[in-house]
């Protein structure tokens, strides 16, 4: 886009936004981002002396040289609030010790080009924002340099920048960004600012402390559940016991309830029904919980099937015998071979899983006709706002939507149904008073939107040197795409490639491949969970490759190496993991398993060392991960992400299971939906073997393979294949 002289500040800001992202040409900076009034169109005032300069959508520079970087991505624990500012601060040449972060408003300026929205998901934050953040920083740096050059009457070429200073070495003078901000604001924003050579990076690639770490260590971070406004009431919802529908569509409906008993609890304010269930409103959580316990709701059973896990397993197992929708076909003969003799085949079964973030869902909503403000921790603020607007009959821009740090999420707060904001809006529409709609832990674990249960059948024939000549994979699973209302599109196949993630993109060199999927239309609402379909598909795949290696009489590591010769990055992480773990030479009575995974532009290999004792059962000793994500923005946070994924995944693989009986989840809290604890957590080592280039995603990377590596280690220890999760169904785990 061409620039013209004499643009007004409003227009300049628009140009800046473009320079900062190249993705926002159609929308103006002010439209949604400013202080939001009822019309949502307040423009920020021009800067006055002594005021901070809002340089573009992303940066504020204060006269005292403090720099605030606005982060559009959600902070759900992954460290976006540190890594995103690092990318911008790098090109800005900011003094990192003076940089702080702020959650951005909900506005199109902050969309991630990978998700076309403020959806923080798919391990796309770093990959999607790497160039836009760097361009935004470089553009502002160029304006600051230009301002200094004009002030001093020198050429820009002789100036350099470092630690928030423009420095004129020849003139032996410098000026801070804060001093220059006012003049810089008058300069034109370059549309295509020069970016640094990665070799010159001073911030990117360095281990930095989290910008939110101290607050999270002293309890001062305000999560959604901590947020307070005057006269705030607390609401809980009695939802149908069987999560088999969506907010009034297909679920059981409340037939009767004991309003008097609930209202008798001191502090109770109101009881009423909405589509989501029966709402109890009270002065505080404790009263609301006491009130809800006395409601005694009688539910009218809907006509939808109330499925049970055992019955579902039987159906899925039957479907494994039938050809599904073919999603990938490579070479020829896979099908014929797989009907013949010498076929190796194994079925793997995976249960429903709950995300169970430590902070249960909650939404604070202050609604009166024509006015609404919402505070919640979410991965999808713009999508949530759209749904709230629909429920309340408002325009999205009329709702001021504040995204707060989330106490974990793992996909639960990225719901295409936007369930928790939808129902909070339903409550607010009736109540028309400030209210915090809270979920208890039981509400969370029993509330549906699970990682779907799945069954996978892998079959192969072995050819020369024991390597697979053909491999067929079939998955039976509820459609995640269908969950966002695309059932018909899903039936065309393309969209359903999501179900085959990790199978249809097989990294191994197998000449003949066939992948097909059955989408089961069970009524249980399902949702992506950290690593999505790879969570089951890659687990099955990596266990099965191990089975093939064993059938071929080969070492599982060498077997993979033979099949990955065309995948140099994967081969490199595999070798690095093997070297670090001391593959082939575990301590006495310990056994190793290995697995690999590639996605989001990143690669990982993981080795698990475990022992299995008849009396004390399974014990984890060590997990080694080797990662190539191209470029690490903050290597220590990257390592933390892998450590997190290892524990998250092992929790699922060892313990995680939501069982349904007559549609009702049988688990409800951490005693029957356990997760790894300190004493069960092994030593975790993570090595980076980054190959350079643009950064890939890492938030989900460490999840799918580690469980398979564990299952393979258990086989090495016991000679027994466990093909059904969680492992504790078959193994003692203390």
């Amino acid at each position: 886009m061409a620039q013209q002289e004499g643009w007004s500040r409003r227009e300049f800001l628009r140009v800046s936004a473009i320079a900062g992202g190249g993705l926002l040409a159609a929308c103006s900076f002010q439209q949604e981002s400013g202080t939001v009034g009822t019309d949502g169109t307040q423009a920020p005032p021009p800067p006055a002396p002594g005021e901070a300069w809002q340089a573009n959508a992303f940066v504020r520079i204060a006269p005292d040289n403090r720099i605030t970087i606005l982060v559009g991505a959600a902070e759900i624990g992954q460290g976006a609030s540190t890594a995103v500012p690092m990318m911008l601060a790098e090109e800005l040449d900011a003094d990192w010790s003076q940089v702080s972060w702020e959650q951005s408003p909900t506005a199109r300026d902050y969309a991630n080009p990978r998700t076309f929205s403020q959806l923080t998901a798919g391990s796309a934050t770093i990959a999607g924002l790497y160039m836009p953040q760097r361009r935004a920083g470089a553009a502002i740096r160029a304006m600051l340099v230009r301002a200094a050059a004009r002030r001093w009457g020198v050429s820009e070429d002789r100036l350099r920048t470092e630690a928030s200073q423009v420095i004129d070495d020849a003139g032996a003078r410098s000026a801070s960004y804060g001093e220059l901000a006012l003049e810089a604001a008058q300069q034109r924003a370059p549309t295509n600012p020069a970016l640094k050579n990665p070799g010159d990076f001073r911030i990117i690639g360095k281990a930095k402390r989290r910008l939110d770490g101290a607050q999270k260590a002293n309890g001062s971070t305000v999560f959604g559940s901590d947020f307070h406004i005057p006269d705030l009431l607390t609401a809980l919802i009695a939802r149908p016991p069987a999560p088999i529908g969506r907010l009034g569509f297909g679920a059981d409906t409340p037939q009767s309830w004991n309003r008097e008993a609930a209202m008798a609890v001191p502090g109770m304010v109101d009881v009423f029904a909405v589509d989501a269930g029966v709402v109890v409103v009270a002065q505080d959580f404790w009263a609301a919980q006491q009130g809800r316990e006395r409601l005694d709701v009688q539910w009218q059973r809907s006509s939808r099937p109330h499925i049970s896990s055992d019955e579902q397993r039987q159906r899925y197992t039957e479907k494994l015998d039938r050809l599904g929708l073919v999603l990938r076909r490579k070479g020829s003969g896979a099908l014929l071979q797989l009907l013949g003799d010498g076929v190796i085949s194994a079925d793997y079964h995976f249960p429903y899983l709950a995300h169970a973030p430590m902070e249960p869902l909650n939404v604070v909503i202050d609604y009166a006709p024509d006015r609404c403000e919402i505070w919640t921790g979410t991965q999808w603020p713009d999508g949530d706002r759209r749904v709230a607007a629909r429920v309340l009959g408002l325009q999205a821009e009329q709702i001021r939507f504040n995204n707060l740090p989330s106490g974990g999420s793992f996909g639960r707060r990225a719901n295409s149904a936007h369930d928790f904001v939808d129902e909070a809006a339903q409550v607010a529409k009736v109540l028309q008073k400030p209210v915090k709609v809270m979920w208890t832990r039981e509400d969370d674990i029993r509330g549906g939107y699970y990682r779907p249960s799945a069954s996978c059948r892998l079959s192969a024939t072995l050819g020369a040197e024991g390597l697979p000549s053909s491999l067929a994979a079939r998955v039976v699973v509820q459609s995640l795409v269908g969950n966002i209302g695309l059932d018909e599109l899903a039936s065309f196949g393309g969209a359903e490639s999501n179900s085959a993630q990790g199978l249809s993109d097989l990294p191994y060199a197998v000449p003949n491949q066939l992948v097909d999927a059955h989408n089961s239309y069970d009524p249980v609402p399902v949702l992506w969970m950290r690593s999505v379909s790879a969570g089951f598909n890659v687990h099955a795949r990596e266990c099965f490759i191990d089975e093939l290696a064993h059938a071929a009489g080969q070492d599982p590591l060498q077997y993979r190496r033979s099949l990955l010769q065309a995948e140099p990055r994967l081969l490199a992480v595999l070798d690095a993991a093997a070297a670090t773990a001391g593959w082939g030479a575990p301590a006495p009575c310990r056994h190793q398993g290995v697995a690999v995974f590639s996605a989001y532009g990143s690669h990982i290999a993981q080795v698990v060392e475990a022992s299995v004792d008849v009396a004390s059962g399974l014990k984890l000793h060590r997990v080694v991960s080797a990662v190539d994500c191209g470029t690490a923005i903050n290597p220590d946070l990257l390592v933390a992400q892998i450590e997190s994924a290892v524990v998250f995944s092992l929790s699922s693989v060892m313990f995680g299971e939501i069982r349904l009986e007559d549609g009702v989840p049988q688990q409800g809290n951490f005693h029957d939906y356990p997760m790894l604890r300190m004493y069960q957590t092994p030593r975790i080592d993570t090595v980076l073997v980054n190959s350079g280039g643009e950064p890939g995603g890492v938030g989900e990377l460490g999840v799918p393979a580690v469980g398979a590596a564990l299952a393979n280690a258990i086989f090495a220890a016991t000679g027994e294949r466990i093909r059904e999760l969680p492992l504790r169904k078959r193994l003692v785990i203390e």
Binding site: R210, D212, G219, W286, P357, P360, A640, V646, F670
Partner: protein, 151 residues
């Protein structure tokens, strides 16, 4: 109406006697650093100190506390060990989402106060009641050892 001693200050509370300390802290006193995670003493997110002992506030009726001294995450930084624990947490990038970390810091501070140089086994015993869904256990362990090294 009763009085609680919170972080060295007497606080008047108007709440039913069986209301758990967690909700008195959060809803009545607006001390929201102490978190709700399970409501059944299963996760440790609500850990506070009662007379120095790590205690689950979500199942502790506040009306039974009497004169006992309650310390929360908002007050623990006033102690030398608490301050060092919080500092190590920030320096070693222990928190991810951070929601469980108030409880982790309280449990770690109680451990280091009782045993200044804990073994891994001591850490297992003292911290295994505190869940971290982000899985930062190895960092919590390393940070405790670092603080111990300074004591």
């Amino acid at each position: 109406m009763y009085t609680l001693s919170i972080n060295g200050t007497a606080r008047a509370v108007e709440a039913v006697a069986d209301k758990p300390l967690l909700w008195v802290l959060r809803d009545d006193l607006r001390l929201t650093g102490t978190k709700y995670g399970c409501g059944r003493a299963l996760c440790g997110a609500c850990t506070v100190h009662v007379d120095g002992q790590p205690t689950r506030a979500c199942v502790l009726p506040a009306g039974t506390l009497g004169e006992r001294e309650v310390t929360t995450i908002e007050g623990i930084g006033a102690s030398e060990i608490g301050r060092r624990v919080q500092q190590a947490w920030a320096e070693m990038n222990v928190p991810q989402c951070g929601y469980c970390q108030s409880g982790q810091v309280m449990a770690a501070t109680a451990l280091l106060t009782r045993i200044p140089h804990p073994t891994d086994r001591d850490i297992d015993e003292a911290l295994s009641g505190n869940l971290c869904r982000c899985g930062m256990y190895t960092r919590i362990r390393a940070a405790i050892h670092r603080v111990a090294g300074e004591l």
